[in-house]
């Protein structure tokens, strides 16, 4: 912002602060580290002022005011923790709980529930309610593909309603009836199926809206969390990965439990789309590749890394000396580090290899102007910055590679994190026969698929949440991918796999971590100049290029 915002002096709980004029008291207090409890307020949504949890006292104003709505004024004196405010908070909490079923034991929100947290912080009174609670209609009802509604637990903060009205602008939800009979519900005949519907799960401060997928899978306090980014499209939304590795009997042994959005004003604000949120099944799927396979003439069989890499290296070298090309199908699903090492290994160990790039994958190219991008790869821009896309004239495209393979002009093909055979009819037609004409195929990927089954050597790649690295989003923002847990079986992170392949091909690549690879990349590649792995931080860095 070019113009400076006017600053006002306010006194909060006896300390003077300078805050920008026009901010709400709640935001002003938050900026100086004072948390004012709230349910209905959300910085990404309009202000409802309904929950009344954020009542604070402003000097010279007779009534308590709601901090989420009242803006700061010059010389304002605000009390957020005096006795009157505390009493009001306790009273509001008591009201919230009057008709709340208190079924925390069966509620998935328990552990991250606003009512629980605030009760522990601000409530701690003894219940005076001796009346029967109001029974609301819907209990554990599915209202959309991902969302379960429980009206009894709802505290009617209206966050979900406002979200549907304001962000996807689809308005599926509404508030029905009045008084303590009031409920949040889906409009008749509608379904909460907008592409961002599951955000209401995170918005809901209580357990009224819960994830169908995550429901009953585990308790949130068993989860561990890392900050990472979504790999489902080129937006690369900031997310939190919640995973459970300590209690493997939960959730059929799936390690990755759920993804949640993480605030980043430059990328995704507070939201992520449902495709990204639920698109992690492949990580713990049964068809994950866990060990290197090699098909020495016959069926694919289990082999150690050494043997598989030896075979691959020997055959690739042999192929390079034969008539016909050695080709690589580069994937924009690899992290920057893996792409960089791929580029270096190819240039140094297999010069003359023809590089092809394809951003096609099995996902539908959905897009809108909220978050979703049509390019369903996380790192197309990174590949572009590394001159590995068709923007570089030397790089071939998907169709060209298919033609070459069909003609039988390929002596070897390395497919990385792609599934050309399994692509939709339009793009995938002919690949199966074309691959049969390539004498030697190496497949590097996470899951078994139509292409991997045709490969002579299959090298298992670590999946999302299993390795550290960086990806560059459509806007050129380099962001950190974080490893949540170890790769399944013997799978390796992309950079590590390519490092070992490079060594097997006769090179000497010595990197101990993704950070080391990135730091070298930053030195060698103009686009990434000046960056270092340690400086990227949680919110990422925009690349100048």
């Amino acid at each position: 912002m070019s113009e400076e915002r006017k600053m006002v002096k306010v006194t909060i709980d006896g300390n003077q602060y300078e805050v920008p004029a026009g901010t709400t008291i709640l935001e002003a207090a938050k900026s100086v580290g004072i948390e004012i409890p709230h349910y209905c307020y959300h910085p990404g949504l309009s202000i409802a002022g309904a929950c009344r949890m954020c009542l604070i006292e402003v000097e010279k104003v007779p009534k308590l005011q709601i901090a989420c709505y009242m803006t700061v004024g010059d010389e304002m004196v605000i009390y957020t923790t005096n006795e009157r405010v505390k009493r009001a908070r306790k009273a509001m909490l008591e009201f919230h709980l009057v008709n709340h079923p208190l079924d925390c034991p069966v509620c998935d929100q328990a552990g991250e529930c606003g009512l629980q947290n605030y009760y522990m912080l601000h409530g701690l009174y003894i219940s005076r309610v001796r009346e029967n609670k109001v029974k609301k209609g819907k209990k554990a009802t599915q209202i959309g593909p991902h969302v379960m509604l429980d009206q009894e637990r709802c505290i009617l903060c209206s966050r979900c309603v406002r979200f549907c009205n304001e962000i996807p602008k689809t308005s599926e939800l509404g508030m029905f009836n009045r008084g303590d009979r009031e409920v949040v519900d889906i409009f008749p005949g509608r379904e909460l199926n907008n592409p961002y519907s599951a955000n209401v799960i995170n918005l809901c401060p209580v357990g009224a809206l819960l994830s169908k997928e995550f429901r009953f899978k585990t308790r949130v306090w068993y989860l561990e969390t890392v900050k990472s980014v979504c790999m489902r499209c080129s937006r690369a939304c900031n997310i939190l990965i919640d995973y459970n590795i300590r209690r493997p009997w939960k959730n059929d042994g799936r390690r990755l439990s759920r993804l949640r959005p993480r605030y980043n004003a430059q990328v995704n604000d507070w939201w992520i789309c449902d495709e990204g949120r639920f698109g992690f099944d492949f990580v713990d799927a049964a068809d994950r590749l866990t060990v290197p396979l090699s098909a020495a003439g016959g069926a694919q069989a289990h082999s150690g890394w050494e043997a598989a890499l030896e075979t691959a290296a020997a055959r690739l070298r042999q192929a390079a000396s034969e008539i016909g090309d050695v080709a690589v199908l580069v994937s924009p699903r690899l992290a920057n580090e893996a792409l960089y090492l791929l580029k270096r290994v190819l240039a140094e160990q297999l010069p003359g290899t023809s590089v092809a790039f394809s951003s096609l994958n099995e996902h539908e190219p959905t897009q809108d102007d909220i978050l979703r991008k049509a390019d369903k790869n996380p790192n197309t821009t990174g590949a572009e910055f590394l001159s590995l896309t068709t923007a570089n004239a030397e790089v071939k495209d998907h169709a060209y590679l298919l033609q070459t393979a069909k003609k039988g002009n390929l002596s070897a093909l390395i497919v990385i994190a792609h599934n050309p055979v399994g692509l939709p009819e339009l793009y995938g037609r002919g690949w199966s026969e074309a691959l049969d004409k390539v004498p030697f195929k190496v497949f590097i990927g996470t899951n078994e698929n139509e292409t991997s089954r045709k490969a002579d050597v299959v090298l298992p790649l670590a999946a999302f949440a299993e390795y550290d690295g960086t990806v560059t989003n459509f806007a050129g923002r380099v962001q950190l991918l974080r490893r949540a847990f170890d790769p399944l079986g013997e799978a390796l992170a992309g950079w590590e796999l390519l490092r070992r392949l490079g060594n097997a091909l006769g090179g000497e690549y010595d990197f101990g971590s993704a950070g080391e690879v990135f730091d070298e990349l930053a030195q060698k590649e103009d686009k990434f100049a000046g960056l270092s792995y340690g400086d990227i931080g949680e919110l990422g860095v925009k690349v100048n290029g």
Binding site: P105, V106, A110, K139, A140, F216
Partner: protein, 190 residues
């Protein structure tokens, strides 16, 4: 201050006869002998159905049961829902969370009855790991897991056998005096 050594002779003063311990040995032998004779007599009398004091204080576990204090923490069991065969357990995992030995393994699922919502589909306690602290009972909001079964015969031929699954925990129940044949055993005790 210099260190001084003070010798304390604490050995009892005994005369020669005492030092042979002969008298004490004989007294000891007499006591044990008396017990032998008296008990043998009682056993024989009892054997011939002549009422006499029991010849031994032994409790014939497991047929005879001493009766435990009601607060004794014995083998776990899962209580049943009222008017229902299912477990009271709603799979909240409070017990699993509090368990210091980490010996409770719960997998929850949807309950077929929409009013109940959640239930445990697998509820396994590794009895070999359990430390009988009773925290699980304290933590349970549904009073579903209890430790007053009165059973202490927790044993198995294998580690796997110590994993008590939900069916077994549900089959167990509160029974303060599970063994009723006390009289019979008194007769046959020797």
């Amino acid at each position: 201050m210099a260190i001084t050594v003070k010798k304390i002779d604490a050995s009892p003063k005994m005369n020669l006869l005492e030092r042979t311990y002969l008298r004490e040995i004989l007294r000891g032998l007499w006591i044990t002998n008396r017990h032998f004779v008296v008990n043998l007599t009682r056993h024989i009398l009892n054997l011939f159905r002549i009422k006499a004091k029991p010849g031994a204080v032994t409790i014939q576990y497991p047929e005879q049961h001493r009766g435990y204090h009601k607060r004794l923490r014995t083998a776990h069991y899962l209580a049943h829902r009222e008017n229902d065969d299912g477990p009271r357990c709603v799979g909240c995992m409070m017990c699993e969370t509090i368990c210091p030995a980490k010996c409770i393994y719960i997998v929850p699922t949807e309950h077929p009855d929409p009013n109940v919502e959640k239930q445990a589909v697998k509820f396994t306690i590794d009895m070999g790991r359990c430390v009988y602290c009773g925290f699980c009972v304290e933590a349970c909001p549904e009073d579903a897991i209890r430790m007053d079964s009165g059973r202490l015969d927790i044993c198995s031929y294998s580690r796997e056998g110590m994993l008590w699954d939900m069916d077994r925990l549900l089959a167990n129940h509160h029974d303060p005096a599970p063994y009723k044949d006390e009289e019979k055993w008194l007769d046959e005790e020797f």
